[in-house]
Symmetry: C2
DNA sequence: AACCATGTTGACCGAATGGTCAGAACATGC
DNA sequence: GCATGTTCTGACCATTCGGTCAACATGGTT
């Protein structure tokens, strides 16, 4: 994992991160990735610090040097995912209309399901278990974000640019459908007789966009 | 739990179930319900036999009398859920057309999300973790069911009764959207500022049906 | 080179977990 | 009411878990 073969010298002692800090960040990242993977596969309760250590290729005690407790490590993993989730949220902003805004949002969320399936699973698991560590995020950030987008959707409806639908239920459908490709990826792979190819993913995106957009009163070709 | 206040006599010794068997079935059911609840809240790894025993109001050793291992108990819970899932599948059969068939299926699945949210969560968790105990169900029963319904949908499309959509992605959308109300029920309750009322559930059903049916080219009023 | 802060690690610990078991309590057939 | 198989349960056990710690290694600074 850590490269100790090459003889990289300390360089100067100013400005540059230094090997110390660079290694620390790299190790933290290694642990977080391993943790995300293990939490996704086994759940919080099923995951053990030993599994995460083995996946990261580090002794267990070293994990506790960077993250004091299993809960703290888990919290960092969930927070990182929430950040990625929020990035995609921007795709809906600054859109000229519902077709572009919602279309772009679906694309962004489908891409997240494809690139970060483990993160999506951890998030799903966290919410399913009552959001023990991100309850405050739900009540503040997520609630604000949702109400903001609902306002935009209502305006689009008022302007006659899309059908009259309940904005909340539309958002739930968007979340559910896009995240399904990550959370239930195993089931989909079984029904697909194998992993989804690039073409499969493009077809999935196109299908979802076509059905959702038509479902809110926007012609497919728009 | 078990009624020992009334003095119910053994009755005859033929045909009738007898107190013995009746109690056994009742106790098994109590345990299965408690297990479903605990597995849903804590996940398989996070659940403990002690939690399930406390929830069921029974000593832990008694659980092991009825279910030898935690895995066996979990398997029974998941199989029970799969059975309920299959019941709803029938709602799509014998329908005159896509509007009735898919509309009824959405209704049935939404009702399951409402009545059996814990079961839905256990199922979601099981699939998310790679279906360790129901892999064979996915490859046989679910695959057959899916291919059968896909054929029906393709026929409807060929008959010009609905828009051209990929049957598999339509089914994924149906599963994702309806199950979301159970699996992410906590998140929805936060955004709804409280549990969903009867009216809320009806509105949810209506919203989902309207968006999905319009999304596959069926007019809302049909 | 000497020093110190930052990392690293094997060995260890108390607590909790899944599971066992011998015997008590019970229902039932005779 | 006695014999017999079923159900129930407290006490117990081996293992595993999250977490600790003292000793050691490393990188940077003077």
């Amino acid at each position: 994992m850590t490269d100790k073969t090459e003889g990289n010298r300390p360089k100067n002692g100013r400005g540059t991160p230094g090997r110390r800090e660079a290694n620390r960040i790299a190790t933290e990242d290694t642990i977080l990735h391993a943790a995300e993977s293990v939490f996704a596969e086994a759940g919080f309760g099923g995951a053990t610090m030993q599994m995460i250590a083995d996946t990261a290729g580090l002794p267990k005690a070293n994990l506790h040097y960077y993250f004091a407790t299993k809960e703290e490590l888990y919290r960092k993993v969930v927070e990182r995912i929430f950040g990625i989730w929020l990035e995609a949220a921007n795709a809906m902003d600054g859109a000229a209309g519902p077709a572009e805004g919602i279309g772009a949002y679906i694309d962004a969320k489908m891409e997240i399901s494809r690139r970060h399936p483990n993160g999506s699973k951890v998030w799903a698991s966290e919410v399913m278990h009552g959001a023990p560590v991100v309850q405050d995020y739900l009540e503040t950030t997520l609630r604000d974000w949702t109400e903001g987008r609902a306002r935009i959707i209502r305006r689009w409806i008022a302007e006659g640019r899309m059908a009259e639908v309940d904005p909340n239920h539309l958002l739930y459908m968007l979340w559910a459908t896009t995240q399904h490709y990550a959370d239930f990826g195993h089931q989909i792979e079984v029904l697909n007789h194998g992993p989804l190819s690039d073409a499969d993913w493009e077809a999935a995106k196109a299908s979802v966009k076509a059905m959702v957009l038509r479902g809110i009163g926007i012609a497919p070709g728009a």
